[in-house]
Symmetry: C2
DNA sequence: TTGTTCTGCACAATCGATGTAGCAATCTTG
DNA sequence: CAAGATTGCTACATCGATTGTGCAGAACAA
């Protein structure tokens, strides 16, 4: 059994040089694909490649990156993995990065500005070549860090002012969702329980603000009353939403006839509270949720969902990264309304359409 | 406005050396924290650190990694992001890696053996220091690659024979789940529709095999008949499960009274078919799902779920990586049975317990 | 035969950080 | 006051791959 040259175990071009009798530069050329332009004989190159394969050689990307000032890494930061929307982001991001022959690095930052900054700096220290900033709490602070080291980056899902952004068209999506909620909710003259309430998210958050704006606008036009009192947007934390909805129900003496829930995060919290209620409580409620989850669309009360076009969000982000965009334009992508199975006239079609990517 | 020294924009220890008048070695020592042992005057070190901070210096990890033969990266490969179980893995993995001051790299491989191999090789070429292999289709092939370069790794969720593994106790979990399904399902003498069916997963997959074994065992003991004919495990693909369950229902003339669904992936597929049926169809069915999803536990038919202990899976994986384990032991972690809200006698407690991490 | 052009490859510098070896200056000790 | 110890710092080689430069030898032309 022939032992590896170094105790380490990782084969380098020097090892291969030794075993083929060629010089390290020739080996490098043969393995990096530049051998043709470096006038290496084909037979030499092939022989080296064969031996490299045989010895299980893999390029040391740290060394290559150091020399070439390119790492082959593309970074993405996002608030959390534990959410379908962001998980879909990761999945699609990875696919895009792979087609470009690079390596994806996805890190979550838990909506903590300090963690966001630390993470971006870490990624920079690994010399990522570009960065997608998804749902950052303070995109501009991250832009500053990136700009300082000349790193191409795009904001996704939440816009910033110092770099291009690709976001969901929150206003339009929320308008559609609110409209659909109003259309579907049981008619009631009760000026308290008979109205739709907005739950979850945070008012300082751009997306939430836009959705609230749409919610208010649609209610003002279609119902004629102000929605100011119907907004409960404290945080994205499920537990906070659970508390909010509980207090709401206690205040108004039961479930309202409609809820606009700002994300699946909040929806989880709401469900947590719902689970304490008897099944009959839900006979008369319609829920809209800004975000999509295939399971959530199958509850035992109608759930209207908005599915953001993750494919296009990521696609456009890459287009911007790779194109030569200047300034900080903000591209808005129209989301899609998913009507509830339980209300659908043609359920099979709707649902199938939702599921097939 | 003072311009950066190099066109690049990234400050190096040489830039800082120049601006402090110290040598690069001194700067390195001051910034890497080894200055005390290298007898650098405290005032010198502090001054260097101040300047580095001011100039926004970050260590070039490629260079450091190359020199120290340690990258600061910890890798994890998993089948997909788009799934609660794996998403939870990512989240918890990241937390563990962070407490160790390292950088997590999570990449999905879509259950494709070739992609798994390529990805592991890529991660190796970036010199990751250890690797968690989650749910790989061919763990041993990956082990071979890792062993060749002396890389510490652990299998998680699916066991291998060439490296230590930490997995869910599939047999026990599936026993509990099957038992609970039998207990909850509507009594029926129908020898076809009145029986529980097993949907999803793949028989070549260890986890599926174990769960099927448990399913059969429990049914044999508690019902006295063989479950051989009740198994439909072709693939983890949602669409395949959709087809399977549709064909099953067509064959037996309606929904069975109970389903054991092998994962939330398959559950998605099943729902896709369910959505084509009228709501009344579900009055008489109990579903058990091996995997947990807070939304899935709130369907309009009872859903019993098994929640794997992701925290412990990851924790033990790290314990193994960091300890000095030899051989390929397989640690089994007991999962938790989550009774359906709609069947629970004390729903609030159960559900709250589920949601609070 | 001498000069020119290709071929095919090797040498050596380089990327940024680290760490060993070592040098000069200062301090200690007998 | 000289030998030895200590302090504070610098020079240089190194990690592995890439790449500009250069140098033999072959092929070819004059």
């Amino acid at each position: 059994m022939k032992k590896k040259q170094k105790s380490n175990g990782k084969t380098t071009i020097y090892d291969i040089a030794r075993s083929t009798g060629a010089s390290p530069s020739t080996v490098s050329a043969a393995l990096s694909g530049t051998w043709r332009s470096r006038r290496i004989k084909e037979s030499t190159a092939l022989e080296i490649q064969r031996l490299a394969e045989e010895q299980g050689y893999t390029t040391n990307m740290q060394a290559r990156g150091l020399r070439k000032a390119r790492s082959g890494l593309v970074g993405m930061v996002l608030p959390a993995h534990f959410n379908r929307f962001y998980a879909a982001m990761s999945q699609i991001f990875e696919a895009h990065v792979r087609t470009r022959g690079m390596c994806p690095v996805v890190v979550s930052t838990l909506r903590e500005p300090e963690e966001e900054r630390r993470t971006v700096e870490t990624l920079i220290s690994y010399a990522i070549e570009s960065l997608l900033i998804v749902g950052a709490t303070d995109p501009d602070a991250l832009s500053d860090i990136c700009t300082a080291v000349n790193l191409k980056h795009v904001n996704v899902d939440l816009p910033g002012t110092k770099a291009p952004s690709v976001i969901s068209d929150n206003y339009s999506g929320a308008r559609q969702l609110t409209h659909e909620i109003l259309k579907s909710m049981p008619k009631s003259d009760d000026p308290v329980r008979g109205r739709p309430y907005f739950i979850g998210g945070a008012t300082w958050d751009f997306a939430t603000a836009e959705r609230i704006r749409a919610f208010k606008d649609v209610i003002a036009t279609e119902c004629g009353y102000s929605a100011d009192e119907l907004i409960l947007a404290q945080s994205y934390d499920p537990d906070a939403s659970a508390t909010d909805v509980r207090m709401l129900c206690e205040r108004i003496g039961g479930l309202p006839t409609a809820l606009f829930i700002n994300s699946t995060f909040s929806f989880e919290g709401v469900l947590k509270y719902f689970s304490t209620l008897p099944a009959e409580a839900f006979n008369n409620i319609v829920v809209g949720c800004y975000d999509y989850d295939p399971f959530a669309s199958f509850m035992h009360f109608p759930v209207i969902m908005v599915r953001q076009n993750v494919d296009r969000l990521v696609e456009e982000a890459f287009r911007i990264i790779e194109g030569d965009v200047d300034g900080a334009p903000c591209l808005q992508i129209e989301p899609e309304l998913i009507r509830p199975r339980t209300l659908s006239t043609s359920p099979s079609e709707t649902f199938h359409h939702n599921m097939t990517r």
